[in-house]
């Protein structure tokens, strides 16, 4: 399992970067198709996200006056690298071979990097719309990160471990955590929607108010890479929720030919992430956009208090049942 060739294969081909790339494009297609059918439209064909990516990579890169183009080039690459690395610690076909205690915290940290990247892009763009968008992105980060982190903290408390793979293993022996912590599940889903900046939380990118927010001055391959970062974040986020709450890619029992386990686990992984995507797409289609001050109220009043209540319940359960 620690064979370096296997590790390299895991990281780069499957279920690493190559698979991640393909799966991100597939989930992006599904997201757009589901939204279109709900709005009684036809929707894009299957290869549309790939076509969009290739087209954007080939477009001209425009550097606005006075902007530091080297930093502008570097920031999307850093954001993309962050989310791709985060995916390596999420279990896809079983426990991740790179797992270690505390990789949950690493994944959460890496997933927050794209938002910081957006803020930097907005600030450096020398454009009033981008600046406002960047400020909104960071404000939104402050508002939803607290409930989101708390909601993802409770599985770790209950499973008694800071490693995602260990939490998944714990769920294999006990119940799925979605049944034990329903409030946390809902808060995590809402927090994920806010992290991915999808309606009703697409405030930094509000197209009708501030043109495109921090995305305004991105062109060509920078836009392609940031867009790919968003799509990969969707995969990583859904996989994280599927692993922490829905049991991840492990069946409650082991199957007889030993190679069948990873295959079945992979199918489960696909099914569970698709289910999370369905929920997220439905929320996107069915709502309008909130204002940042309204999000402030909702985030602190409802989300954060729900998350705190969930933490409290989990601590009580732990004390009463786990430590006899």
């Amino acid at each position: 399992m620690t064979d370096p060739l296997f590790i390299l294969f895991y990281i780069f081909i499957f279920p690493g970067f190559f698979f991640l790339f393909g799966y991100a494009l597939f989930l992006s297609y599904l997201d757009r198709k589901i939204a279109a059918r709900m709005q009684q439209r036809v929707g894009p064909p299957f290869f549309q996200p790939l076509a969009d990516l290739i087209k954007m990579l080939g477009k001209e890169v425009i550097n606005p006056d006075g902007v530091d183009w080297r930093v502008f080039d570097a920031i999307p690459v850093v954001a993309l690298a962050a989310v791709m690395t985060a995916f390596l610690y999420v279990p896809v076909i079983g426990a991740s071979p790179l797992a270690f205690q505390g990789d949950l915290v690493v994944v959460l940290y890496l997933m927050a990097l794209p938002t910081i990247a957006l803020f930097l892009l907005g600030w450096l763009s020398r454009n009033i719309f981008s600046a406002i968008g960047g400020v909104r992105a960071v404000t939104q980060l402050f508002i939803y990160e607290v409930p989101f982190f708390l909601a993802l903290l409770t599985p770790a408390i209950m499973a008694g471990s800071w490693s995602i793979s260990a939490i998944v293993l714990w769920q294999q022996h006990n119940l799925w955590l979605v049944f034990l912590q329903p409030i946390g599940f809902i808060v995590a889903l809402v927090g994920l929607q806010a992290k991915l900046e999808r309606t009703p939380f697409d405030i930094p990118e509000a197209e009708t108010e501030i043109v495109a927010g921090p995305w305004t001055e991105l062109t060509g391959r920078r836009l392609a890479l940031m867009h790919l970062t968003t799509e990969i974040s969707l995969v990583v986020g859904s996989a994280l929720i599927a692993a922490l709450f829905l049991g991840g890619p492990l069946l409650p029992w082991t199957l007889s030919p030993p190679w069948l386990n990873p295959a079945a686990g992979f199918c489960l992984f696909l099914l569970k992430t698709l289910a999370v995507l369905l929920v997220l797409s439905s929320i996107t289609v069915a709502t309008g956009r909130l204002r940042i001050d309204q999000l402030n109220v909702i985030g602190w009043k409802y989300l954060a208090s729900a998350a705190l209540v969930q933490v409290g319940i989990v601590l009580v359960i732990n004390y009463l049942w786990v430590t006899p």
């Binding site: 069915a286 309008g288 956009r289």
Partner: protein, 393 residues
């Protein structure tokens, strides 16, 4: 953040037509607003003075795409009153049907745009799909989806066949159900309520003081509707209601517009079922006697007022167009102060701005022999001094 100038326009995704709001904002609150409306000027008022009555109606229709029938009808109605001719009742009914269908398509369009401004794209897609039923009806009746060209001095241009009337009546029940559904969505959808309620509130005194017209004013409780106050076309014979609301914010304006959609549908149904027979136009004299008239009409956006003066020839001496959006701009500027930056598109969209109606000033219209009229159509022509245009006359 200190006070910054956020330029909303002239090119901005929130605006469907160019207008320049320079918003002075302090963080997310708006402090002040400067308005510049000159981007859609073409050449209508002066050009109308050089065209005889047959040629001026198509020109006036093109003041605006969405309320094209309004401008043509108000002008035709004014000239007919100066000339002292009465058009046949069938023509009145046909004009009314087209007018109310235009109101329906405009309000459905507006509903989609308002939903799009708050990011609620699902409602946008749904309302525009239902709008296609109205557009199909208009295309069957007049031959075009906008700029119907139905009016002539003395009546209408073409008649409604029984097949067209039947097809239109068949489309109405489905539309009625969809409109009811939109009212339900408005009453229950949380993000709509939270973005529309309390935003851009204008009291009744402010609405009267700043001269607001149309659904914007009726949502504040101002009970003016030209169709009832100064009845024209067939409105005096048809049973219908004026919709008002007391809230005065964007939510109230939405309710007024959806209510008007319902009423328009009833009017169209009544007219289609009770349309009288007879001729559709009478011969109008070529010249109009000397006179003047202030002709008013309730367009989808509010009250259109044409002040027409004739001088005994077959051309008008002066047509002074006051479109509803121009009357509503002052109220927008007033109710935008101290609102959030994020609410600008919502509040501006709530008055249903139609900038093509607003600015129709004079542009030099000297067509040179090679270039026809393309430069003068929009008023935003390429700069002849620009090096990209070298070689063009």
């Amino acid at each position: 953040m200190p006070e910054v100038v956020v330029p909303i326009g002239p090119h901005h995704p929130a605006l469907k037509e160019p207008v320049n709001f320079r918003v002075i904002a302090d963080g997310e609150k708006i402090v002040r607003l400067e308005l510049d409306l000159s981007y859609n000027h073409r050449g209508i008022e002066k050009a109308a003075e050089q065209r005889n009555f047959i040629r001026v109606l198509p020109l006036l229709e093109r003041v605006c795409g969405i309320c094209s029938h309004s401008h043509a009808t108000v002008f035709a109605k004014g000239i007919e009153e100066i000339m002292g001719i009465a058009i046949p009742p069938r023509a009145q009914y046909i004009r009314t049907i087209i007018a109310e269908l235009e109101r329906m398509h405009s309000h459905l369009l507006w509903l989609g745009i308002a939903a799009h401004e708050i990011g609620f794209n699902t409602l946008f897609m749904w309302t525009w799909r239902d709008r296609e039923a109205v557009q199909d009806t208009l295309e069957e009746m007049s031959g075009n989806r906008v700029h119907y060209g139905m009016n002539e001095i003395g009546g209408v241009r073409c008649d409604l066949t029984p097949a067209q009337v039947g097809a239109a009546l068949l489309r109405l029940p489905n539309l009625e159900e969809r409109i009811k559904k939109y009212m339900d969505i408005l009453n229950s959808e949380d993000t709509l309520l939270i973005r529309f309620r309390g935003v851009g509130r204008m009291s009744k005194e402010e609405a009267l003081k700043y001269g607001a017209v149309g659904p914007t004013a009726r949502a504040s409780g101002v009970d003016y509707d030209v169709r009832r106050d100064d009845p024209y076309l067939a409105y005096a014979e048809i049973p219908w209601n004026v919709i008002t609301d007391t809230r005065g914010d964007v939510y109230g304006r939405t309710r007024v517009r959806i209510g008007e959609l319902r009423e328009s549908l009833q009017i169209v149904r009544y007219c289609l079922e009770n349309i009288p027979g007879g001729p559709i136009r009478i011969d109008a004299p070529k010249n109009a006697p000397k006179g003047e008239i202030l002709s008013r009409y309730e367009a989808p956006r509010g009250e259109v007022a044409h002040y027409i003066r004739t001088n005994g020839t077959d051309k008008v001496e002066r047509v002074d167009i006051r479109s509803p959006t121009l009357a509503n701009w002052t109220s927008v500027a007033m109710c935008l102060v101290n609102q959030n930056l994020a609410d600008i598109p919502v509040i501006v969209a709530a008055i249903d701005p139609c900038l093509s109606c607003t600015c129709r000033m004079v542009v030099v219209n000297q067509k040179d022999s090679t270039n026809g009229t393309d430069r003068t159509n929009v008023g935003i022509a390429p700069d002849p001094g620009d090096r990209r245009n070298r070689g063009r006359p």
